[in-house]
């Protein structure tokens, strides 16, 4: 069964065109000129139960807009949207009790009170049983390692601690569907990793269906088998991450440190040079030629260190965006 079903979804924002200056604002009052921002322009996809899908694209691509439509915050301009079989914009509590929207830059915790107070409020709002609530708070705060800070004023917490508590607040009612909009934004590497591991485990343990947006390709690579790439309101790719990596990068990158300075010309025959400074080089090599070229490199040069790497996802995604279509 498809948990999330989106068909030909369009969301245009009508924007009032204003000319600069006083005269401009008077004119715009009298004869309003509008234009449409086509934030989401006819996208379709289906997500099954338990899937963890990465929703990626450059700034302004329409990711947040899509998640807002899925959460019932925005009314679609056209097309149809179903989450667990319901139309989100009706904002029925039966659906609202089963999903959560987490935006990295919007907080729901009460700033002047300890997180536990906000949790207690959510307990009542979502009508969670006492025992279930206790179990959930313990479980989640242990997974995220924040058990000891639940009684400290939110304003005194670090960004990472706060985000973790935001996450707990959003998960207390055991939502089946999660919309995560840049959940790792602004976090340091360690906190990012904890968050990632948590999302991964949560997805596995509770079979939660998750859509995740992030500008950190590390998040996507670590978490999502499937990605939907969106650009200028249109889907340019929907499928396995692995597949797009293969399609755009049928090569590996051999990274070498030489014992002695090497000549650029000598390396040219092995493949395209990504980096070269005499003592260190990165060479693009077709996948099937990797064993052969590696052994030839080792015999031809005095090599201090050699590793075979996948091309970075960033470089692949950049490629996809710049090509426009897949």
């Amino acid at each position: 069964m498809a948990v999330i079903l989106v068909k030909n979804l369009k969301k245009y924002y009508r924007v009032n065109q204003k000319e600069p200056g006083l005269w401009g604002s008077i004119k715009s009052l009298i004869a309003r000129k509008y234009y449409d921002v086509k934030a989401v322009n006819g996208i379709s996809f289906e997500i099954k139960e338990g899937e963890l899908v990465g929703f990626i694209g450059p700034n302004g691509a329409g990711k947040t807009t899509t998640l807002k439509v899925l959460s019932g915050l925005l009314y679609p301009t056209s097309g149809s949207v179903r989450v667990l079989g319901y139309e989100p914009f009706k904002r029925q509590s039966i659906l609202q009790k089963q999903f959560s929207l987490i935006m990295g830059q919007k907080n729901q915790l009460w700033w002047d009170l300890p997180p536990l107070e906000s949790f207690l409020l959510n307990k009542e709002i979502y009508e969670i049983e006492d025992s279930q609530f206790k179990k959930k708070v313990n479980e989640l705060s242990e997974m995220l390692e924040v058990s000891d800070i639940l009684k400290i004023q939110v304003r005194k917490l670090s960004l990472g601690q706060r985000m973790k508590c935001e996450l707990i607040a959003a998960l207390l009612h055991s939502p089946k569907v999660l919309f995560l909009d840049e959940p790792t934004i602004g976090l340091d590497v360690v906190a990012q990793k904890t968050m990632r591991d948590f999302i991964k485990e949560y997805n596995k343990k509770f079979k939660a269906t998750i859509i995740l947006t992030s500008h950190y390709m590390g998040d996507v690579k670590e978490l999502c088998k499937r990605v939907i790439i969106i650009n200028q309101g249109k889907i340019v790719y929907d499928g396995l991450l692995e597949k797009i990596v293969n399609r755009f990068a049928p090569f590996k990158v051999i990274s070498i440190d030489f014992e002695k300075m090497a000549e650029k010309e000598e390396l040219a025959e092995f493949g395209k040079l990504d980096e070269f400074d005499g003592i260190h080089a990165k060479i693009q090599v077709n996948k099937d030629e990797v064993p052969d070229k590696t052994s030839r490199l080792l015999s031809k040069f005095e090599v201090a260190d050699l590793t075979i790497e996948d091309p970075s996802i960033e470089s692949i995604i950049r490629e996809v965006f710049s090509n426009g279509r897949v």
């Binding site: 925005l74 609202q96 929207l101 009542e124 709002i125």
Partner: protein
């Protein structure tokens, strides 16, 4: 079901207690306001016994009761909704199974309770210090009318404030209309002077607006010298405004949300 809003009430109460300094300053402000109005009238009555049908006792009682009513009716945070619309945190409510108006009403009640407990303490203190001649109303019927009018006024002002706050759905800054209403309220609400000292024809018009029902009407009821006919008429107008206010509030919320979900913010 209602335990949701009880929880909202509790957390607002706790949150209110965090801002002790802010809250104290706010209370100091209202005590100063009370003292100011009190002494103006006290001075006026140095040389006269009776002005516009008011004796010293009745006017000073009026001032004290008006201050209590202020704490009950006018201590509303409903205009805060504009900030939540502007900064987008309204999103947090819209994705939850939570009644928007009920949520704010519960928050308001918590705030009011906090204010009321302080104002009662303040009034007792002032009565002990200033020993003003006060009218202690003992007529049960009158007290009932007074209570009823105050509760209705509370609903009316909530609706008014909420409507103004929701203007943020359309305009970026709602302080203009808010300022206007505050000014009118100070003048025609009855916080500075009882409205019936105004010329009769002006008084009649003012009594058709919602403003005097927020302070003047309940305070005047407490004094107990309003003719039955006036009481009756007053309640009819007040109840009409409560209905109009709540109807408008629902309608504006519906339109506002429609706009919000169409335009984003």
């Amino acid at each position: 079901m209602s335990s949701k809003y009880w929880a909202v009430f509790k957390i607002s109460w706790e949150n209110g207690l965090v801002y002790r300094l802010n809250f104290t300053l706010w209370r100091v402000r209202s005590v100063l306001q009370l003292l100011l109005v009190y002494f103006i009238w006290w001075t006026v009555f140095q040389t006269q016994d009776q002005i516009f049908n008011y004796t010293k006792v009745s006017i000073l009682t009026y001032v004290m009761v008006a201050s209590l009513i202020r704490a009950i009716i006018l201590s509303s945070r409903a205009v805060d909704v504009s900030a939540q619309i502007n900064d987008g945190s309204i999103v947090n409510f819209l994705v939850k199974p939570l009644g928007f108006i009920k949520y704010y009403f519960a928050r308001d009640l918590a705030d009011k309770l906090l204010n009321i407990s302080f104002v009662i303490f303040e009034i007792i203190l002032l009565v002990i210090i200033l020993k003003p001649p006060l009218l202690i109303q003992q007529n049960f019927e009158i007290l009932l009318f007074f209570t009823l009018a105050t509760i209705l006024g509370l609903f009316l002002y909530f609706a008014m404030a909420f409507c103004i706050g929701m203007l943020a759905f359309w305009v970026e800054n709602a302080w203009g209309p808010l300022f206007l209403v505050t000014i009118i309220l100070e003048g025609f609400g009855g916080g500075l002077f009882p409205i019936d000292i105004l010329p009769k024809n002006i008084y009649d018009y003012v009594m058709l607006t919602p403003f005097p029902y927020l302070i003047y009407f309940p305070a005047k009821l407490y004094l107990g010298n309003l003719p039955t006919m006036e009481i009756f008429k007053g309640f009819i107008i007040l109840i009409s405004w409560v209905f109009i206010g709540w109807y408008l509030m629902m309608a504006i919320l519906q339109q506002g949300l429609k706009r919000y979900t169409a335009f984003g913010y």
